[in-house]
């Protein structure tokens, strides 16, 4: 199961919280990421998230989306999500760091 953020959500991701503006990490997580994660888990499928194709990402967006997913589900299997970011490898590194840090806080 694949999510391509630029195609399925927006090419202009915003900040952390929905109250601060459109296309926030919180909004993305609630509308797209969480339902896909739960569906993939129930069907025993791997979830792939593609970060390429947009204008870029603020770290606040990525942390709230992925780190926030760990805090919301309290499920360490969020770590199994495959992140693809060929345009900028640092996004992939950062997402896994946020997931790992959030799992440590569980």
């Amino acid at each position: 199961m694949e999510i391509n953020i630029a195609k399925d959500y927006t090419k202009t991701p915003g900040g952390r919280f929905a109250k601060e503006g459109p296309f926030s990490g919180e909004d993305f997580r609630n509308k797209i990421l969480l339902p896909a994660f739960e569906k993939a888990k129930s069907q025993n499928e791997k979830l792939v998230v593609v970060l390429d194709g947009g204008f870029g990402y603020a770290v606040s967006f990525l942390e709230e989306a992925f780190g926030g997913l760990v805090r919301q589900t309290e499920d360490p299997s969020v770590r199994n999500i495959e992140i693809i970011s060929e345009e900028d490898e640092t996004f992939k590194t950062k997402v896994y760091k946020y997931i790992d840090d959030a799992i440590k806080e569980l």
Partner: protein, 349 residues
């Protein structure tokens, strides 16, 4: 009762009427005299305040004198009463930079008192033709009249935009503009990330309460040059030094500074540096927060961004090409936070 002779009766009545008429006439005359004695100023209570700008108005090029001027503008705004006017005398200006233009706009449009007290702002143009051209080309007058201007710029050189929230579609449009004027394809991921983080900081931290004297807007501006595009981002909030978490010793030293009105140990600049380096300065106290300014710093040390300057409170930090942060103390407080940087059209080696 005394008998009134008939012949005198009409005279008495006439005399009585005449007396009334005389009294009315006297009252009118006295009222006219009173009106004529009133001085001109009492007829209308509004006052006109004039603030004269220095010859070089630039936060980056003539910092201290420019800060003193802006402090005077703020003080004037706070001193105004209902219906007063503020006249911005720009005649003497020979050089004005983009950051100064932005800050004047921010002061005029953000100061709550200007709207609450219906204070009228007006001004003149610089006599110097270059300075006049810079002001006009920046869209300054258009912005002050209409409170916004589209991202597609005047003469493809200068742009001013403002907002309250995180406007990611605007940032996307800015990146498209950068791609267009750069000529060759360039990586704007870092630029995108910086601007979103700065908008986030303004939205989350810059304005704390309804008692703040400033409205909670950010402003962004881009000026295209041959080899680079200069960006200015600012807000008029409480500033980074006041919003970051302080350690115990710093709180004590900060109190001493506040009481003595003297930034003795370069505290504000040190706080800015510490926030940029990610030394656990988030006021939220949550371990996963406070990533924004470190991200800005990381991108500023990269190949595309050059000469980043941060000014907030009484501190100023310059980020060098090698990532080294130089700190400076300001003798006059800068109200708000300013970031300015160059986006290089070609990667710097």
């Amino acid at each position: 009762m005394k008998k009134i002779r008939v012949s005198r009766k009409p005279w008495i009545v006439a005399h009585a009427k005449k007396g009334v008429q005389k009294r009315v006439k006297l009252h009118k005359t006295r009222r006219k005299r009173r009106r004529n004695k009133e001085p001109e100023s009492n007829k209308s209570s509004s006052k006109k305040w004039t603030v004269v700008a220095p010859q070089r108005l630039s936060l980056t090029g003539n910092c201290e004198e420019t800060l003193e001027y802006f402090a005077e503008v703020l003080e004037t705004i706070q001193s105004c009463d209902n219906g007063d006017q503020i006249y911005f005398d720009f005649q003497k200006i020979k050089y004005i930079s983009s950051d100064a233009i932005m800050y004047i706009i921010a002061l005029i449009t953000n100061a709550k008192k200007i709207n609450e007290c219906s204070i009228r702002c007006s001004g003149n143009l610089p006599t110097d033709p270059k300075a006049r051209d810079t002001l006009e080309m920046s869209g300054f007058y258009k912005f002050v009249q209409h409170k916004n201007s589209p991202v597609s710029s005047v003469n493809d050189r200068l742009q001013i935009s403002s907002g309250k929230d995180i406007d990611s579609p605007l940032v996307g449009a800015i990146c498209e503009y950068v791609q267009k004027v750069s000529g060759t394809p360039c990586d704007t991921n870092g630029l995108y990330s910086i601007i979103i983080e700065l908008m986030t900081n303004t939205a989350q931290h810059a304005y704390h309460s309804e008692d703040d004297i400033m409205d909670n807007n950010w402003y962004i501006f881009a000026q295209n040059s041959k080899d680079y595009i200069r960006f200015v981002f600012l807000d008029t909030g409480v500033g980074i030094p006041k919003t970051i978490k302080k350690r115990l010793g710093e709180r004590f030293r900060g109190l001493v500074d506040e009481l003595t009105a003297y930034n003795a140990y370069n505290g504000d600049a040190s706080y800015i540096e510490s926030a940029l380096k990610g030394e656990e300065r988030t006021e939220t106290n949550q371990p996963y927060r406070g990533q924004g300014l470190p991200e800005v710093y990381e991108v500023a040390c990269g190949e595309r961004i050059s000469e980043m300057l941060v000014m907030s409170g009484r501190g100023k930090c310059r980020i060098g090409a090698d990532g080294l942060i130089s700190n400076y103390s300001l003798s006059t407080e800068f109200v708000g936070t300013l970031f300015t940087w160059k986006f290089m059209k070609k990667r710097s080696d």
